[in-house]
């Protein structure tokens, strides 16, 4: 008891220490509805580092064709996704297996990628460069060649990390990109004003009914978490909700066995899940090798969800209404489809009425941040 209690105290202390430098802009407080951005001790936020990360994020020279940057698939004008593409186009219009998740609020994620195979933003940022269907580099060398020779980069890295051109490595590149991503924070939605400041008029009556369904009959809040003073709308866990895995159900034993026997290195896993659709559908299993991971994917945040259609890890569901119908059916998109054998125990038919489904969708549309509200109406509402 004492041991566990002390351990959790220590953990709490660590979180508090990490939280002090807020991600958005050094020293500023987080937007309404969000906690302070966790910043790793070894990579503090500075305005110069953030600006450098911004530049790296948008640089197309870090792809084999010179046409693709991080921002290609995580575009600000698309709420940092690639909406309305199901799965993004990398070099030479090659497509992978996964829908580009928004970078907005990814700073709150405790693992990155849909299957959580990366532990933090720093680590995550290095992989798309060398994935054959994303930016297609053979290795990270061409990136270092650019940042060690381009005078603007040389100057900036010297300024931020006090390192000469020859000393700059991928570590610094990754740290700068992560620092930039930690500023992409968006709260301050109508729901935040309704719930956290008590402004009753911030939501419509329909949205209020939808919120009631969200926390009660719809059971959404069990994974898309709302707390007393903040809401990141994710439990940072992995669940099989019956998307994608059905397409390989009969072959799961064979594909899983093959995968386990191959005992792939992490770099190989990275390429495999984006280039082989069948392995991709194993979800979290490719990371943990555990039963709970079969067909399971990370709970995404719901903030700005109305801007980021299509939905789910494979972009297979076009509208928010279809997403709600999928859950209402107990984890199947078309009512008479078979339920997945490995379905999470939390997913069951909800018996929502058509009206309740509409109400819930209306509520989800209240999660759009004020600064991105002008992007609304392009996609997602299902109307």
């Amino acid at each position: 008891m004492n041991k566990i209690y002390l351990a959790s105290l220590a953990l709490l202390a660590a979180v508090v220490v990490m939280s002090i430098p807020a991600g958005q802009a050094p020293g500023s407080s987080p937007p309404l509805g969000l906690p302070p951005v966790p910043v790793p001790e070894g990579n503090p936020q500075t305005p110069e580092k953030v600006a450098l990360g911004d530049k790296l994020f948008h640089d197309t020279r870090f792809s084999s064709t010179g046409e693709v940057s991080c921002a290609t698939c995580h575009a600000a004008e698309k709420a940092f996704t690639d909406s309305p593409l199901k799965t993004s186009e990398g070099i030479n219009k090659l497509t992978g297996t996964r829908n580009a998740p928004t970078v907005l609020n990814s700073a709150y994620m405790t693992t990155l990628f849909w299957d959580g195979r990366s532990p933090d933003l720093e680590d995550q940022s290095q992989h798309p460069f060398v994935n054959p269907v994303e930016m297609g580099l053979e290795d990270h060398r061409p990136i270092l060649d650019v940042v060690r020779s381009d005078p603007e980069y040389v100057e900036a890295f010297k300024d931020v990390f006090a390192k000469s051109a020859d000393e700059v490595g991928m570590t610094e590149v990754m740290m700068a990109i992560a620092a930039f991503e930690r500023t992409l924070i968006a709260g301050d939605s109508p729901f935040d004003h309704y719930y956290f400041t008590g402004k009753a008029s911030a939501l419509t009556e329909q949205q209020k009914r939808g919120f009631d369904i969200f926390v009660n009959k719809g059971r959404c809040v069990s994974c898309h978490i709302i707390e007393q003073t903040q809401a990141v709308f994710t439990d940072n866990r992995f669940h099989n909700i019956g998307v994608g895995i059905n397409s390989i159900q009969d072959d799961v034993p064979e594909i899983a066995s093959e995968f386990l026997r191959a005992d792939a290195s992490l770099a190989e896993v990275d390429i495999q899940v984006l280039t082989d659709p069948r392995t991709s559908e194993l979800g979290r299993f490719v990371v943990t090798h555990g039963f709970d991971g079969v067909g399971a994917f990370k709970t995404p945040t719901l903030r700005n969800i109305a801007l980021t259609a299509p939905y789910m890890h494979d972009g297979s569901i076009a509208t928010l209404r279809d997403v709600v119908v999928h859950y209402n059916n107990g984890g199947v998109t078309k009512k008479d489809d078979p339920v997945n054998d490995f379905l999470s125990g939390g997913i069951r038919p909800l018996n929502l009425t058509e009206q309740e489904i509409d109400d819930l969708v209306a509520y989800l549309e209240s999660l759009t941040s004020e600064e991105y509200a002008h992007l609304a109406g392009d996609a997602g509402s299902g109307k």
Binding site: L266, F291, D341
Partner: protein
Amino acid sequence: MSNQTRREFLRTAGAIAAASCLPMTAVEMAFADKSKNFTFAYISDAHIQHIKGAEFVRNWDRGLIRAVAEANLLEPKPDFVVFGGDLAQLGKKSELDHGAEMLSKLNYKTYCVMGEHDYYLDLGEYWSKLFGDHYYSWDHKGVHFVVLNSILTYDEWTHERWPTAEQRMLEMAGLDNPNGSPFMVGEKQRKWLEKDLKKVSKDTPVVVFSHSPIQKIYAGWNFWTQDAEEVQALLKPFDDVTVVYGHVHQIQYNQIGNISFNAVMATAWPWPYPESYVHADVKWPNMTVPMNRADPFFERDATGWQMVDLDRGRVGLRYNLYDNTDRTVAYNRDTGRPEDMDFQDEADRVPPQTHY
């Protein structure tokens, strides 16, 4: 984060779950003939329940379907699967048929044990058509396996007391029911067992599968077999004896003389440990980690199934517990009893939740 650190992060995050997919040899091999070691899977207490028409209780269906699908993923493949009884809830043909169809998806030979929920409607008649004998034995890689039907009771209670078969079934299904009756193996089956064991040498490991524990834990819930001592006496002459039982829907383990006892989880729902009994000052069964409250949101919480590792005639059970810390209970050759491999040391135990 360096590649090395990242690898460690991922492996640490997945270590527990990864092992659950690769049945491990719980006890280090010192000298044994490796060909004699093998694994099997154990699924139990599905309680498939018919509502009406084509409608069955969804949650119980999902539990069995998932366990079967996961058992088919095991790598390396288990030699066989045991289903530990209570496939049905009220012994109906519809329930047994529905359950048998799910079990038929297993890619392995499957042995079935009779539970009281399978039996007391038609006294096991339809179950026999699907699964065969109520009690039987076989040999596999040097181990003698025995399946007992341990949920029988007094003839008078079974044949004379109840106006209908349906009422008999319901009376036996209840907990703390004064109209209930204690389970037993019975004289006829004990005679069969005695004869069956005669042809087995004393140094052959014997593993018995029964639905109820062949030991006395708590009579009110029939965590009990009335003639447990008589059955134990028949098993006593053997060097290595293990009894694996279902019915209790929780992890239990115990040692009586030469006999190790291991309980398995249900795929349907968890039972708590009978509190009234542990309040008395007893030393067994060794219940070191009480079952916590099941999460009402997450229907698979506190349910599970087992991978069983047979090492030199002794079993290690690795419990696959959904979204939870997996646990392993294995025979410890130094102490001569089954032990929880992670939580045996008092300092390592997770305190139970005492208020909600």
